[in-house]
C-alpha cells in the first residue's frame, strides 16, 4: 500500500509538471495583457516600467523558470489585477467552492441512493418510472438554465430565497469561513447547491437502479431470501453493500467534476468561489490566476483519484493495489 502511494505521488508530480508547462505556454498565447492593464494614455517610459514590474519583458522560457522556482516555494505569481498572491487569492476563494460542492454531493447522495434503490426494486411501478423519467430530465437540463429558473421562481416570484452571494459566513474551527452554520447563510446555500446537485442526482439514481436490478438476480440474494432473512436485511445488507462499491468510486470521481461544474453555478448565483474567479480572470486575461487555478484543480483531481483508489481497496477485499495498477 505504501509503495503504491509513493509511486502514485511521484507520477502525480510528473503529470503536474507537464500540465504546468502546457498551461503556462498555452495561457501565454492568449493575448497581450499589457494592452488591458496599462493605461492607454501612459507614455512609453511608464509602459516599460509596468512591463518590467510584471516580468513580461523576459523571454517565455525564463518566465516559466521564474514561475517554476516560485511554485516550489508555494508562490504561483502575483495577480495582475488584484496585485496580491495568485495562490492566496485562490485559497481564499476555495472554502466557498468546497462548501458548495460538498453540499451538492450530499444532496445527490442523500436523495439519489434511496430513489435509485426504490426505482430498482420496483422498475415497473409508477414511482419507479417517474423517477427514471425525472433522471432523464436531470441529464438533459442545462445547469445554468436551471439555475436561472430557480432564481426566477424562488427569488423573483416567491421571494423566498436570496438570488446572489453567499450571505454571512461563520468561522468553522476558527479557521474556515462557511455559510451553513447560520440560517441566513443556509438560505443562500440551498439554491446553488440544489442546482449543482441535479446532474449528479440523476447519475446516482441511474447507477443505483442498475446496480440494484443486477444484484437482485444474483445467487447470494436468492440464498439470503432462502435462508429466511427479512426483506430489509436482504436489501440493506446484501444488496446495498454490493452496489455501494461502484457508487463510492463514482461519488469520488464525480466530486472533482462537481468542483469543475461549480464554475457555471457560481457564475449564475454570483457565489464568490474559485470558479467565478476563474471566469473573471479569463475575461481580464489575469494569467497568474488562470495558471494557479488550473494547477490547484489538477492537484485536487490527482489527490481525489488517489483517495478513491485507496477507499476502493478498503471496501472491496478483492481489489489489491499493486504496482502495475498505478
Amino acid at each position: 500500500m505504501l509503495v503504491f502511494i509513493i509511486r502514485r505521488s511521484m507520477q502525480s508530480v510528473v503529470v503536474l509538471l507537464i500540465m504546468s508547462l502546457l498551461v503556462f505556454v498555452g495561457v501565454f498565447a492568449i493575448g497581450n495583457p499589457i494592452d488591458i492593464l496599462i493605461n492607454p494614455q501612459a507614455d512609453q517610459i511608464d509602459r516599460e516600467r509596468a512591463i518590467a514590474a510584471l516580468g513580461l519583458d523576459k523571454p517565455l522560457w525564463e518566465q516559466y523558470l521564474v514561475f517554476l522556482k516560485g511554485a516550489l516555494t508555494g508562490d504561483l505569481g502575483r495577480s495582475f489585477v488584484h496585485a496580491t498572491s495568485a495562490l492566496g487569492l485562490i485559497l481564499q476563494r476555495m472554502p466557498a467552492t468546497m462548501e458548495l460542492a460538498i453540499a451538492a454531493m450530499l444532496i445527490a447522495v442523500v436523495l439519489g441512493i434511496p430513489l435509485g434503490l426504490w426505482a430498482g426494486l420496483r422498475p415497473n411501478g409508477i414511482a419507479g418510472r417517474t423517477i427514471m423519467a425525472g433522471s432523464i430530465l436531470g441529464f438533459s437540463l442545462p445547469t445554468f438554465w436551471v439555475g436561472l429558473m430557480l432564481i426566477m421562481v424562488f427569488s423573483v416570484m416567491l421571494g423566498w430565497l436570496p438570488s446572489t452571494g453567499r450571505g454571512p459566513t461563520t468561522l468553522l474551527f476558527g479557521l474556515i469561513p462557511v455559510s451553513f452554520l447560520s440560517w441566513e447563510g443556509l438560505r443562500h446555500l440551498i439554491m446553488p447547491a440544489t442546482n449543482l446537485a441535479l446532474f449528479k442526482l440523476a447519475l446516482l439514481i441511474r447507477l443505483t437502479r442498475a446496480g440494484t436490478r443486477e444484484s437482485l438476480l444474483q445467487d447470494y440474494v436468492k440464498f439470503a431470501r432462502a435462508k429466511g432473512l427479512s426483506n430489509s436485511r436482504v436489501i440493506g445488507v446484501h444488496v446495498l453493500r454490493n452496489i455501494l462499491i461502484p457508487i463510492v468510486t463514482v461519488i469520488g470521481l464525480e466530486f472533482g467534476s462537481v468542483i469543475a461544474f461549480a464554475i457555471v453555478t457560481e457564475s449564475v448565483f454570483a457565489w464568490p468561489g474559485m470558479g467565478k474567479l476563474l471566469i473573471d480572470s479569463i475575461n481580464l486575461l489575469d494569467r497568474p490566476v488562470i495558471v494557479s487555478y488550473l494547477l490547484v484543480i489538477v492537484t485536487l483531481f490527482i489527490f481525489i483519484n488517489l483517495i478513491v483508489d485507496v477507499l476502493y481497496s478498503a471496501l472491496d477485499p478483492r481489489v489489491r493495489l499493486t504496482d502495475s495498477k498505478g
Binding site: 503529470v15 498551461v23 498555452g26 495561457v27 498565447a29 492568449i30 493575448g31 432523464i136 430530465l137 441529464f139 438533459s140 437540463l141 442545462p142 445547469t143 445554468f144 438554465w145 436561472l148 429558473m149 432564481i151 426566477m152 427569488s155 423573483v156 416570484m157 438570488s163 472533482g256 467534476s257 469543475a260 461544474f261 464554475i263 457555471v264 457564475s267 476563474l278 471566469i279 479569463i282 475575461n283 488562470i290 488550473l294 484543480i297 483531481f301 483519484n305
Partner: protein
C-alpha cells in the same frame, strides 16, 4: 439520425428475410416515447433549417426592429399588426424568430463539432485497435488522461488558451469529444478483429486501408451511432454553457446560450420570457436527442435482438 440510419450496412444474406434497416426501423418505432422524441427532434431540425421562411421577422435585420417594442411580454401586438407570441427582447426583437435563428446556430455548431470529432476519433480508435502495440498504448493513454478531466474544464482551458470565436469553440468541442469515439470504436474493433471475416480479408491479402475501412469500420458502426447521438446533445449543451458564460460564440452568432445570457439581467425584474423560452427550446432539443439515443442504444444492441 435520419441520415445516419440508412448507412447501416445491409448484409446480402440477411436481406432475403428482412433487411437490417427495416428491422431497426421497426424496433425503433415500437417504443412510443422514442417516437415522440424523434418527432420532436424532426420539428426542431425543421425549424432550424427553415428558420428564415417561418420566422415572423428577420431578428438581425435592424430595419425590422423597433426599440419601442422592447421587452414586451408574450402575446403582445406589434405595431405592424403581428403578434409577439413569445415576447420581445431589449432590442424589440421577436423572441420566437430569435429562437429559430438561435437553434440554427446551436445545431450547426453541435453537428459540425460531432462530425469532425467522429472522424478524428474513428481514425484514432481504429488505428489503435488495428496496429496495437506502442501506437495503441500512446493513443489510449492520451484518451484516458483526457477523459479523467471534466469536459467543462477542458473547454475552459482551451478557450482560455485559444481565445474566443466560433471556430475555436468548435475546436474545443472536437478536442473534448474525439476521445469518447476513440475509446468506443477501439473496444468494438478489438472484438471484431478476432472474427473470421477479418481473418478471411487478411488471407485475401487486401490492403490494411481496405480492411480497416471496408470490413472493420462498418461492423463497428452501431455503437458509434449511439455515442454520436448522445454527444451531439452534449456538444449543444456545452456550447450553450460556454456562450452563457460569455466565453463561447461571439455576439454576431447569437446561439441559444447567448439569448439566455442576454435575458439574465431582465430576469430579476420579472421579465422572464427573454431567458425562459430560449431555454425551453434548448431543453426540447437536448431531451429529444437523448430520447432517440436511449432507444437507439436498445435497438442497436446485438445482445437484445430478438
Amino acid at each position: 439520425m435520419r441520415t445516419v440510419l440508412p448507412e447501416t450496412p445491409a448484409a446480402p444474406a440477411e436481406r432475403a428475410a428482412e433487411s437490417p434497416f427495416h428491422r431497426i426501423a421497426t424496433d425503433f418505432l415500437s417504443n412510443p416515447v422514442a417516437v415522440v422524441g424523434l418527432g420532436m427532434l424532426m420539428l426542431v431540425v425543421l425549424a432550424a433549417v427553415f428558420a428564415p421562411l417561418i420566422s415572423p421577422q428577420n431578428p438581425y435585420d435592424l430595419s425590422q426592429l423597433d426599440v419601442m417594442d422592447g421587452r414586451l411580454p408574450p402575446g403582445s401586438k406589434s405595431p405592424t399588426g403581428g403578434t409577439f407570441w413569445l415576447g420581445t427582447d431589449d432590442q424589440g426583437r421577436d423572441m420566437l424568430s430569435a429562437i429559430f435563428y438561435g437553434l440554427r446556430i446551436s445545431l450547426a455548431v453541435g453537428a459540425t463539432a460531432t462530425v469532425l470529432a467522429l472522424i478524428i476519433g474513428l481514425s484514432a480508435g481504429l488505428t489503435a485497435a488495428y496496429f496495437g502495440g506502442k501506437t495503441e498504448t500512446v493513443i489510449m493513454r492520451i484518451v484516458d488522461i483526457q477523459l479523467s478531466f471534466p469536459a467543462i474544464l477542458i473547454a475552459l482551458i482551451l478557450i482560455a488558451v485559444l481565445g474566443q470565436g466560433t471556430g475555436k469553440v468548435i475546436a474545443a468541442l472536437v478536442t473534448i469529444q474525439w476521445a469518447y469515439y476513440a475509446r468506443t470504436v477501439r473496444s468494438a474493433a478489438l472484438v471484431e478483429k478476432r472474427k473470421e471475416y477479418m481473418e478471411a480479408a487478411r488471407c485475401l491479402a487486401l490492403s490494411p486501408v481496405r480492411i480497416v475501412f471496408r470490413h472493420l469500420l462498418p461492423n463497428c458502426l452501431p455503437p458509434m451511432i449511439v455515442v454520436a447521438t448522445v454527444q451531439v446533445a452534449a456538444a449543444i449543451a456545452l456550447e450553450a454553457t460556454l456562450s452563457f458564460l460569455g466565453l463561447g460564440l461571439p455576439i454576431t452568432e447569437p446561439s441559444l446560450g447567448l439569448l439566455i445570457a442576454n435575458g439574465y439581467q431582465y430576469l430579476l425584474s420579472g421579465k422572464y420570457w427573454i431567458s425562459f423560452f430560449p431555454g425551453v427550446a434548448l431543453l426540447l432539443t437536448i431531451v429529444s436527442i437523448n430520447l432517440v439515443a436511449d432507444q437507439l442504444r436498445d435497438v442497436l444492441n446485438p445482445r437484445l435482438q430478438k
